[in-house]
């Protein structure tokens, strides 16, 4: 009995080992042949068809659907190549992790630079990606605004009003949602500027603000649902493009958008995933794909989807849609790396709001 037991167990383990090793070597073999194929196609003649995978975050779905069509037409004319662009959407941090874990993205278009920095750290993107394209590699921008119930019954005009007695604020958890980190930093920046750059005061303000948050959803879409469908809260802190989309889709008779006196300039950046495009032989088309975002047509599509254009001529055309407010950038916080450590790490300022020190 015990001898047979032992033999059975040993056999099982041996098979398991063989299967795992086979899987590993198959993986290597697979990528090897893929590389060879790319070398062949990257040679003298361009292949007729080429495929791109754009890994993006949630609210850009409509934007890139339109943009991909426009770019495919442009590229066909430019190079004669038929380009098919595949899209992947999800929370920005989650998408970044998928790419690190092996999703073969040619380009990434995410919500914040920190998520692309993480891919760079894994070695898939070369250093200095943020200088590769104009304007910190951010072809379009956005900002954080207030979405309030129709007629603004609580009279919320600026950040200060959010911490008034009885006001409930809806925002996702900045530790789980990349987008929400912009919300948090917008509030922080406002408090800093209105208190002579006193960090203690800013900290107090932000902590007080989060005491007015009854529900911390894990993502931006969850917060929108809480505010819109559940009817919770008096104000939703939202990206400008999300706010406009909500108003457009759910009826202008339900919500108003309020622009505070100042807010943060949200710069969702784009980058080429160097290791992947070299393997796929798609560097040229990937570069053109991201560059085209800066052209008149690319900028118009962005503006039509409620992202702020950066090209002056398009800005003029859509001036009514994007009121001018005072905007400050992430650089004020020393870039994402520093902001992350100071505010959102587990012992950062955000955690201290909830954990008694």
């Amino acid at each position: 009995m015990s001898r047979r037991l032992k033999r059975g167990v040993l056999n099982g383990l041996a098979i398991a080992l063989v299967v795992v090793m086979a899987a590993c070597s198959a993986g290597e073999g697979g990528s090897g042949t893929a590389g060879a194929k790319a070398d062949a196609s990257g040679g003298s003649d361009k292949p007729k068809e080429v495929q791109l995978l754009n890994v993006s975050y949630d609210p850009t779905r409509e934007l890139y659907e339109k943009y991909n069509e426009a770019f495919a037409a442009y590229w066909k004319q430019e190079s004669g190549q038929q380009v098919t662009i595949k899209q992947s959407h999800g929370g920005s941090g989650k998408q970044s992790r998928s790419v690190i874990d092996g999703l073969k993205a040619d380009v990434v278009t995410l919500a914040l630079g920190y998520d692309i920095d993480a891919i760079q750290e894994s070695g898939l993107i070369d250093e200095g990606w943020q200088q590769r394209f104009e304007l910190n590699s951010s072809p379009y921008t956005s900002t954080i605004v207030f979405l309030v119930r129709k007629g603004n019954p609580k009279g919320l005009e600026d950040w200060d009003d959010l911490i008034k007695e009885g006001v409930e604020v809806i925002t996702p958890n900045p530790q789980t949602s990349g987008g929400a980190r912009w919300n948090y930093l917008a509030a922080w920046g406002y408090a800093l500027h209105n208190n002579n750059n006193d960090e203690e005061k800013a900290k107090e303000f932000v902590q007080e603000l989060f005491r007015h948050v009854p529900v911390l959803d894990s993502g931006a879409r969850g917060s929108t649902t809480t505010f819109v469908e559940r009817g919770l809260g008096d104000v939703l802190l939202a990206w400008e493009n999300e706010a406009w989309l909500s108003v457009k889709e759910l009826g202008p008779d339900k919500f108003d958008i309020v622009y505070p006196s100042e807010s943060i300039l949200a710069e969702p950046p784009v980058a080429i995933v160097d290791k992947n495009v070299d393997k796929n032989g798609t560097r040229e088309v990937a570069e053109a794909y991201l560059k085209y975002l800066y052209t008149e047509e690319g900028q118009t599509i962005a503006a039509e989807n409620y992202y702020r254009p950066t090209l002056a001529s398009v800005q003029e055309k859509f001036a009514d849609q994007f009121p001018e407010i005072k905007l400050f950038t992430i650089d004020e916080f020393g870039g994402w790396g520093e902001a992350q450590t100071k505010h959102f790490k587990d012992d950062g300022i955000f955690s201290q709001i909830y954990v008694p020190q």
Partner: protein, 276 residues
């Protein structure tokens, strides 16, 4: 088909089936779990301990284990009732009723979470009735328990049902003719037989509840220290690319769960022995 008369009392194929079991366990359970261990080896022992005993992490363990235990217990009672109705009574539509029990298995948990929140939040059908009574369900630990009850109920029903089916009504009749009251019959005749499957059902529902993420995040409100569950904290660490920290929390969660399940299993064995 082989005739079984040639066998000499021992089941054939022991080596093969045991080998397959070990293979299966290795590929599906052991290897992924060792990868988990490996991931947290980047941490020193002190750092690991710091993360695992952080007040916020501890609070999330508390929320996770208490709500899962509460949901498991309520499920045990309600599940027993459901199984009883399904086995002992005949009524029209019983087949549909029976099939409905398994629906929580099929439904994506996120859908369950969203719909439960819609109904039980302050402006939902049921939530709006309870709100004036001062009872809030969505975005409180009660809401989490509710979601876990929904997820766990099939486990209890499906483990208790077959045992109940095999239980002869005659034994109860005999007890009755010997003068036992209904309560006494239930307590000393029916319940001892049902205790082992009830405990299994509870353990399954409980274990499922500890790891549940999809349905809970919608209804819990996710407030740190109050309604934040441990799996959400793991997600939040992953979101910050803190793989080692996430695995530390997960490992601790797994360890506690394992010990608890071991205890439940040994308790069950003891009950089974005394019942015989």
């Amino acid at each position: 088909m082989h005739s079984s008369t040639t066998k000499r009392g021992v089941l054939p194929g022991f080596g093969l089936t045991m080998g397959y079991s070990v293979l299966y366990l290795s590929l599906v359970v052991l290897i992924p779990l060792s990868a988990l261990l490996l991931n947290s080896t980047g941490l020193t022992w002190e750092k690991f301990w710091d993360i695992a005993t952080d007040p916020r992490v501890l609070a999330s363990y508390k929320v996770s284990f208490l709500t899962a235990a509460a949901a498991g217990l309520i499920d045990a009672v309600l599940g027993l009732l459901l199984a009883w109705v399904l086995v002992r009574y005949e009524f029209p539509g019983k087949g549909i009723f029976d099939a409905m029990i398994d629906l929580p298995f099929a439904l994506p948990t996120a859908v369950a979470g969203v719909s439960l929140t819609a109904i039980y939040s302050a402006n939902g059908w049921i939530g709006s009735l309870l709100e004036p009574l001062g009872l809030r369900i969505a975005f409180t630990p009660i809401g989490i328990t509710l979601a876990l009850m929904f997820i766990g109920i099939p486990f209890v029903v499906r483990t208790v049902q077959p045992v109940l089916q095999d239980l002869d009504a005659e034994v109860e009749e005999a007890a009755a003719t010997l003068g036992a009251s209904r309560l006494r019959t239930f307590r000393s005749v029916v319940l001892p037989e049902l205790l082992p499957p009830l405990l299994t059902g509870f353990a399954l529902a409980f274990a499922r509840g500890i790891g549940e993420y999809g349905s809970v995040v919608f209804i819990s409100g996710n407030m740190p220290m109050k309604t934040e569950i441990a799996p959400l904290l793991i997600m939040s660490k992953l979101e910050q690319f803190d793989y080692a920290g996430a695995t530390a929390v997960a490992l601790m969660l797994l360890l506690i769960s394992f010990v608890l399940l071991l205890l439940i299993n040994s308790l069950q064995r003891r009950i089974r022995k005394t019942a015989r």
